[in-house]
């Protein structure tokens, strides 16, 4: 039996230090291939960070939206 794919939602709004990238890295550690990670952040530096993270790890960003209140990134875990 294989574990079903999981959608993990991480609310990283308002984090200052160490910052939302820590939450993404932690969610990735706990994930498995097939899972989806949705992360919310307010730190403007999160957008370039999540893009660099996706490029490095080879996990695609399915959507990256910048709204008035938050940045929402959805990532599919295809590699780890």
């Amino acid at each position: 039996m294989t574990d079903a794919a999981v959608v993990t939602k991480v609310d990283s709004r308002g984090t200052a230090c160490p910052g939302p990238i820590t939450d993404l890295a932690m969610a990735y550690r706990r994930s498995k291939v097939g899972d989806t990670i949705e992360i919310w952040a307010t730190d403007p530096g999160f957008k370039p960070d999540v893009q660099a993270w996706a490029a490095k790890t080879g996990n695609p960003i399915i959507s990256l939206e910048e709204g008035p209140e938050k940045i929402t990134a959805v990532i599919r875990v295809v590699r780890r």
Partner: protein
Amino acid sequence: MSRILILGGGSAGTILANQLGGRRDSVTLLTASMEHLFQPALLYIALTGANANVVRDERRLVLRSVKLVQERVTKVDLNQKLVEGSSGERYTYDRLVLATGVRTDPEQIPGLPAVYREFGNYHSGIALAQRLWSALRNFDGGTIALGQSTPICVCPPSPVEGILLLDRLLRRRGLRHRTRLVLFTPYPRAYPAQGINSVIEPLLKERGIEVMTFFDLDRIDTETKVIHSIEGDEITYDLPIIIPPFFGPDINFEPSEVADPSGFLLTDRETLRVKGFDSVYAIGDASSLPTSKAGVGAHLEAKVVARALRGDRAIFNGRTNCPMDLGDGRGTFVIGSYRTPVVPYRPSRLNLLMKHAMARMYWASLRGTLEPIFDLYFWLTTPERLSRRRVSKGA
């Protein structure tokens, strides 16, 4: 009279107990060990061979009006308001504060227990810190790889401080030209918060320290001496310095949903209440708060909960204030809050003196007698004020 029960006699629990003790409520503090360790000293024991007196007896740190009991808590039933200890004793409460800090579990990373047997580390007790110092004394050149096991790190500046202090040590010993120093990190840069990274990165470059980013530790092969990351990268080492993986307390909670997958207590970031329980709080490293796991946060959170337990409105603003020794006689601070991102804080000799002065004040700060000084300091260095100053200076 309300019965307040505090679990954990480290920085957070001791400060809170002393703030509440002597008032009308009954305050009981349960702690697994009467040996109170000043953890920041481990950095200097392991990387400079310091031999300071860094443990005190908790009985001498807590006001007499607080009932202090040595007890390792094994179970907390939040629905029944019942706490059980390894002695078999049971405790009830009206209001509960969880301040049990972190637990390290090297077994979670293949190869890590063997690394610690040989090389020690600087995040889990005096014996392992001394082991690391003796490994460094025998080191004669090669590659030293330093980094964290998981993205959660107690004292987030400590990996950068560690590598900078190593650089200084090796230069003094005339070994630097024969040593490759590698800092690996799961983050996109040496320090996760960009504000302070902009201060640190030039220093690392200047000192020839390599930074491997997006390196999430997977396993260590002690036969081939290779550290592997989840991302597929490798570092071959001669001496590995690995910060352990940190977890929440080893306590059976009822309901279990109050803890996150790493065992940290799900805590409201402003009220510090544990999710779903109005009379239960979590402070210090044991919480899942999205701030640095550091003594300064533990201190400020203890003050917020002390006020809340006295019936005042109190909100935690996410303030961080972590000192960082830059290994060249200067220091900086990582200062930010929920509202204000970490500010770039100029390194100076004064900052390092402040770091050491704060360390000297640690034992007195647990008693609460220095609060007016801390209040003034925190007010003068609010991140909002610092970033306004930068803007007006055109920095």
